[in-house]
C-alpha cells in the first residue's frame, strides 16, 4: 500500500480503537466517509497521480476504504454488544450503554416464522411459487374445472382472462409443488404466501391477504396425521389449552375434507357476537389430497396419498396484535405502534 495511505490507515485505526462514545463514533464516520470526508478527498486527488501510478493508487485507496469500513463496522458491532454486557455503568461509560436500535419483522412475517419453525422441526421444507398464475394451476389441477360452482368461492383478479390471474389461494403453490416434485417423493412442504381476491377494501376485507399452507405426500398418510399435525400447529401458535374441533368440510381439492374450528376465545363456546353465536371460529380448511389432484400431477394415488391444510394469517395476526383494521397491515400505518410489534 502507498506509504501515505498506510499512515492514514494506522492513524485512523488508532482513533477508531480509542473511541468510547456514540457521538465520537459518528463524528469519525463523517470525518472519514462523509461527502466532504477524507476518503472522498483522497479519491478526488487521483487525478494528480501520474498515469503509471494511478492504477496502483486506486487499488490501494479502495483497500484502505474497505479496511477502515470494516474496522468501523466491527467497532460499531462491538459497541452494540458492549452496551449489553453486564458491568455497572459509570460516569465514563454511561453513554456506551445506550440501547441499539433493533428493527421489527412485520407481524405477518412473525406469524409465518412461528409456523415455519413448527414445520421445519417436522422435516418440512418451505416452498413458494409465482403470484401470477394460470387457470390450470389455480383451478383445473385443484379439481375445479371451468364453470364449477366452487369457483364462486373465490373472486379472481385477472391479468389476461381467462388464462392468467393472480393466485387466489396458497393451494396454487401446492399445484406447482406437486408438478415439480412428482418424481421426488415423499414431500413435506409448507408455504406462506400472499393471495389475491377481487374484493373491495374496507376494515375487514382486502384484495390481498396472507395464507399459510402445508402439504404432505407420502405412503400411508392418514387423517389422524393431518388432524394431529394441525392440532400441534394450533397449540403452538395459540396456546396448549386451545380447543379445536375437526368437522367435515368441502374443498374441491381434498377428499375427505376437514374443517378446523377453534372454540371462541372470547366466549369459550357459549356464543357471542365475535363468533356469531356459534361458539366456534372457522380456522381454515384441510383434508386428504383429492386423488384427482395427485393424478393431475402425475402421482399414482393408489400408492401415494397426502394431506393439505391452509389457514389465513391476517385475522389471527390482527387479533394477536390488537389491530382493528386490515388495511393497517399493508397500508403502512403500523408506524405509530412499532414498539408493540
Amino acid at each position: 500500500m502507498n506509504q501515505n495511505l498506510e499512515e492514514i490507515k494506522n492513524q485512523y485505526q488508532a482513533k477508531i480503537t480509542d473511541l468510547k462514545t456514540d457521538k465520537g463514533l459518528e463524528s469519525l464516520r463523517i470525518e472519514l466517509f462523509g461527502r466532504n470526508g477524507l476518503i472522498n478527498d483522497l479519491f478526488s486527488k487521483i487525478k494528480e497521480i501520474p498515469n503509471e501510478g494511478k492504477k496502483q493508487y486506486g487499488a490501494d485507496l479502495n483497500q484502505l476504504k474497505t479496511e477502515l469500513e470494516e474496522l468501523f463496522v466491527e467497532k460499531r458491532r462491538r459497541h452494540v454488544s458492549t452496551s449489553n454486557q453486564t458491568s455497572l455503568p459509570t460516569k465514563e461509560n454511561k453513554n456506551i450503554f445506550s440501547l441499539p436500535k433493533i428493527g421489527h419483522l412485520h407481524p405477518i412475517t412473525q406469524t409465518e416464522r412461528e409456523l415455519n419453525e413448527v414445520f421445519r422441526k417436522l422435516g418440512f421444507s418451505v416452498y413458494n411459487s409465482p403470484e401470477i398464475v394460470t387457470d390450470e394451476f389455480n383451478f383445473e389441477r385443484l379439481n375445479v374445472p371451468q364453470n364449477h360452482p366452487a369457483r364462486d368461492m373465490q373472486d379472481s383478479i385477472y391479468i389476461k382472462e381467462p388464462e392468467y390471474l393472480l393466485r387466489t389461494q396458497t393451494s396454487t403453490i401446492e399445484s406447482y409443488l406437486l408438478k415439480a416434485k412428482s418424481q421426488d417423493l415423499p414431500i413435506r412442504a409448507a408455504f406462506p404466501g400472499s393471495v389475491f381476491r377481487n374484493e373491495k377494501v374496507n376494515r375487514s376485507n382486502h384484495f390481498v391477504f396472507h395464507q399459510y399452507q402445508a402439504v404432505v405426500v407420502d405412503k400411508n398418510v392418514t387423517m389422524k396425521d393431518l388432524i394431529g399435525t394441525m392440532d400441534l400447529m394450533f397449540k403452538t401458535l395459540y396456546s396448549s389449552d386451545v380447543v379445536v374441533r375437526y368437522r367435515c368440510k368441502y374443498y374441491p381439492e381434498v377428499e375427505p375434507g376437514v374443517g378446523p374450528d377453534m372454540q371462541c376465545f372470547s366466549c369459550h363456546g357459549k356464543g357471542c357476537p365475535l363468533c356469531k353465536y356459534a361458539g366456534w371460529i372457522e380456522m381454515g380448511g384441510s383434508g386428504m389430497i383429492h386423488p384427482k389432484v395427485l393424478e393431475a400431477a402425475g402421482i399414482d394415488s393408489k400408492i401415494w396419498s397426502g394431506f393439505a391444510f391452509g389457514m389465513g394469517l391476517d385475522r389471527w395476526t390482527m387479533a394477536q396484535k390488537n389491530i382493528k383494521d386490515i388495511r393497517t397491515l399493508m397500508g403502512g400505518n403500523l408506524a405509530y405502534k412499532p414498539n408493540e410489534l
Binding site: 401470477i132 384484495f207 390481498v208
Partner: protein, 604 residues
C-alpha cells in the same frame, strides 16, 4: 339455507334431539350451522350448504343425511297421488323442447281452481325462509322448491297459452322478470317462451305470465337444466335467485316425480280444481349411476383409526347405495359421490371425525430439503436488516399508477380503482410508507420491504423479488448495504435519495448470502443457541442497564450467551412500562433453557 325444525320432523318423525345438539351434529357431518333462532314459535336453523351438495338445498336431502347419522326412518310427508298418465281424454300439452340444455321437465295443466292468499302455515314457512308470500299457488311452488331443492314454475295459461317452448333465445331482445326488472337477452340465454313472447328464464319467472288471484288455470312445471348454462346465464344477467342457486348445482332428475306429485297434491288440496292434461315428462337421457369399486377397509386406512367393515357397509346401505360385491352404486340423489374417496368420506363422517385423535401429529422425518435458495436468502436478509435497526413493512402489490406504460401489467377486472396495476418497483410504495412514518412523527425512520415486482415482456409476465430499503441517513444506508454485501445502487430508476431497490433475482451469487444448512443433527444439538423472549411489566421506568445487570446475574455465565432488551413500551392506559428481553442460552437443551428462563423472569 334455512331449516325449520318442525318441517324436518315431518320427514323424520323420530327426530327428538335438542336444537343445540342438532346444530352441532349438522355441523360435524358437513352442514355448517351458524345458529338457530325462534321465528313465530318455530325453531329455525341457518345452514351453509356445501357447493357439492345440491341435494341438501332442500329438506329432503338434509333429512336423508340425518336419517343415516341418527339411524332413524325417513318418511314421505304426503301420500302419493295417482297421476293421470295415458288418459286419452286428457289434452296432451303442446310443449316443445328444442335444446339439449333441458335435462328433465315434468309439467301438467290444472284448471278451475281458486287462488287465494296463502294459509297461515304456508306464510309462516316462507317467512322463516325470508321469502315474501304472494298467493297460494306461487307460495306452494316455493314451498316445494325448499322441500326438495328443485325449482319449479307456474304459468297462467290465460297469458302464456299452452304452447310453451324451451329454447335457447333467438329472437327476443329483453325480458321483464316477476319483480319488474328489465333484462337484456342474447342467444346464449335458456328461455321458456311461447311463439309470441318471453315467459320465463330457466331460473326466474316472467311478468308476462305471472300468477295472480284471478288465475284459474295453470301449467306447472318442475325442471332441471344443464347447470353450466344456468350458471352462465345467471352471471351474464347479473341475477341470482333461489332457483339459480339450486339449478347451478348437480340436482337429481329422479327426484322430480316425487316433488312434482307433492306439488300437484298441495295445489288440489289448497286451491281445488282438477288435472286437465296428461303429464308431460321430457327426460331424454336417464341418469347413469357410477359403479365404484370400494374396499371396506379403506375408511380405516384413510382415517387412521379402526372403523369396522360392518359399519362401512351398513352406512352405505343406509345411504341407499346398492352393494354388489365390491361394487357400490350410489343413489341418484347423491351426485357428489363419484369415486371411492367420496364413499370413504361418507363412512368417516358418519363414524365421526371427533373420534380421530388429535394428539398424534407427524413425527420428524428426514426428507431432502427442497426449500428454494431464494427463501433462505430472503430470511437471511430480513434477519440482518432487523439487526441493523430496520423495520419490515408490507405494501400493496397492486397500485394506482404505472412507472413504465410499456412494461406494466394491468389487471382486467379489479374492482378497486386504486389497485389497477401490478407494481414495477417497491420505491413508490415505500415513499408512501415514509409519509406514514412522518405523519406519526416517528424519529429516524429506517425500514425495508422484500416483495415481488412485475413486468410484461411481450406476451410473457415476469415477476422478480425486490428488496427496497429506506434510511433517513443516506450514508448509513450505503454502509448497511455494503455490510450486507449487496450491490450498491446509487440514483437511477431504482434509487431515489434515501431509497434503494435491489432485484434479488439479479444477484450474481445468491448462495453467498445463504447460511450453510446444518445437515448433521448431532452438531446442531450440541452447538445450538436457544433464544427466548420475556416481557416484564414494571410500574416505573427503569435504567435498562441495571435491568440487564440484574437478570444476567441470576443466570449462570456458563449458560448465558447474550442478554438484550429489544423493546421498551409505555402503556398509556396503565402508565406501566413493558420491557422485552431477549435471552440467548447455550450449553443447554430446550427444556432446561426454558425452565431457567421462566424462573429468571418470574414467568411461571
Amino acid at each position: 339455507m334455512k331449516l325449520i325444525y318442525s318441517q324436518l320432523q315431518k320427514f323424520l318423525p323420530d327426530l327428538k334431539i335438542e336444537p343445540q345438539q342438532l346444530r352441532d351434529d349438522l355441523t360435524m357431518i358437513g352442514h355448517f350451522t351458524n345458529f338457530f333462532e325462534e321465528i313465530d314459535s318455530e325453531i329455525v336453523f341457518d345452514l351453509d350448504i356445501k357447493v357439492n351438495r345440491g341435494d341438501c338445498l332442500g329438506y329432503y336431502g338434509l333429512a336423508k343425511d340425518l336419517s343415516v347419522f341418527y339411524n332413524i326412518k325417513l318418511i314421505s310427508p304426503f301420500r302419493q297421488r295417482e297421476m293421470p298418465e295415458g288418459q286419452r281424454d286428457l289434452e296432451i300439452l303442446p310443449i316443445q323442447i328444442t335444446t339439449d340444455n333441458v335435462k328433465r321437465v315434468m309439467a301438467v295443466k290444472i284448471s278451475n281452481f281458486k287462488n287465494n292468499s296463502s294459509p297461515q302455515w304456508l306464510q309462516t314457512f316462507l317467512k322463516c325462509h325470508n321469502t315474501k308470500s304472494i298467493n297460494t299457488l306461487v307460495d306452494l311452488t316455493n314451498y316445494i322448491m325448499f322441500l326438495y331443492g328443485i325449482p319449479n314454475h307456474a304459468f297462467d295459461t290465460a297469458k302464456s297459452t299452452d304452447n310453451l317452448i324451451w329454447e335457447m333465445n333467438s329472437k327476443f331482445k329483453e325480458f321483464i322478470s316477476l319483480d319488474g326488472s328489465k333484462l337484456f337477452l342474447d342467444n346464449k340465454i335458456l328461455m321458456i317462451n311461447n311463439p309470441d313472447k318471453t315467459l320465463s328464464l330457466s331460473f326466474w319467472g316472467g311478468e308476462s305470465c305471472a300468477i295472480d288471484l284471478t288465475t284459474t288455470e295453470t301449467i306447472i312445471e318442475l325442471a332441471i337444466y344443464d347447470r353450466t348454462t344456468v350458471r352462465q346465464n345467471s352471471r351474464q344477467l347479473k341475477s341470482v335467485t333461489e332457483a339459480s342457486i339450486r339449478l347451478e348445482k348437480d340436482l337429481d332428475c329422479e327426484l322430480i316425480p316425487t316433488a312434482f306429485n307433492h306439488l300437484v297434491n298441495l295445489i288440489l288440496e289448497n286451491c281445488g280444481g282438477q288435472i286437465n292434461s296428461q303429464i308431460f315428462d321430457h327426460y331424454p337421457q336417464k341418469t347413469n349411476l357410477p359403479q365404484i369399486e370400494f374396499d371396506p377397509k379403506k375408511p380405516s386406512l384413510v382415517s387412521g383409526i379402526d372403523i369396522s367393515t360392518n359399519f362401512s357397509l351398513d352406512c352405505l346401505k343406509r345411504l341407499d347405495c346398492q352393494i354388489n360385491g365390491s361394487t357400490i352404486t350410489p343413489p341418484s340423489l347423491r351426485k357428489d359421490i363419484t369415486i371411492e374417496a367420496d364413499l370413504i368420506e361418507e363412512v368417516i363422517r358418519f363414524w365421526g371425525y371427533q373420534k380421530i385423535p388429535t394428539n398424534q401429529p407427524l413425527t420428524f422425518k428426514e426428507i431432502s430439503d427442497i426449500t428454494p435458495k431464494e427463501i433462505y436468502l430472503i430470511e437471511n436478509l430480513k434477519d440482518q436488516l432487523i439487526q441493523l435497526g430496520y423495520d419490515e413493512v408490507l405494501t400493496w402489490p397492486l397500485i394506482t399508477n404505472s412507472i413504465d406504460e410499456k412494461t406494466v401489467i394491468k389487471t382486467q377486472n379489479s374492482i378497486n380503482s386504486e389497485a389497477v396495476y401490478l407494481r414495477q418497483s417497491l420505491i413508490p410504495s415505500l415513499v408512501q410508507q415514509l409519509d406514514q412514518y412522518n405523519r406519526f412523527k416517528l424519529p429516524e425512520p429506517q425500514f425495508f420491504e422484500i416483495g415481488k415486482v412485475f413486468f410484461k415482456d411481450g406476451n410473457n409476465f415476469i415477476e422478480k423479488t425486490a428488496l427496497g430499503i429506506y434510511n433517513y441517513d443516506s450514508e448509513k444506508l450505503q454502509l448497511d448495504i455494503k455490510n450486507l454485501n449487496l450491490p450498491l445502487v446509487k440514483g437511477g430508476p431504482r434509487g431515489i435519495d434515501n431509497f434503494v431497490e435491489i432485484i434479488l433475482d439479479e444477484l450474481l451469487k445468491p448462495e453467498k448470502y445463504i447460511p450453510n444448512q446444518q445437515q448433521n443433527n448431532a452438531i446442531e444439538l450440541t452447538s445450538q443457541i436457544i433464544t427466548l423472549d420475556a416481557n416484564i411489566t414494571l410500574d416505573n421506568k427503569e435504567d435498562p442497564i441495571k435491568l440487564i445487570l440484574k437478570y444476567s446475574q441470576i443466570i449462570s455465565s456458563k449458560y448465558l450467551w447474550k442478554l438484550i432488551i429489544t423493546d421498551i413500551y409505555q402503556d398509556l392506559k396503565t402508565n406501566k412500562y413493558r420491557y422485552t428481553f431477549q435471552a440467548s442460552y447455550f450449553n443447554l437443551d430446550d427444556k432446561t433453557a426454558k425452565s431457567i428462563h421462566l424462573k429468571t423472569f418470574d414467568l411461571i
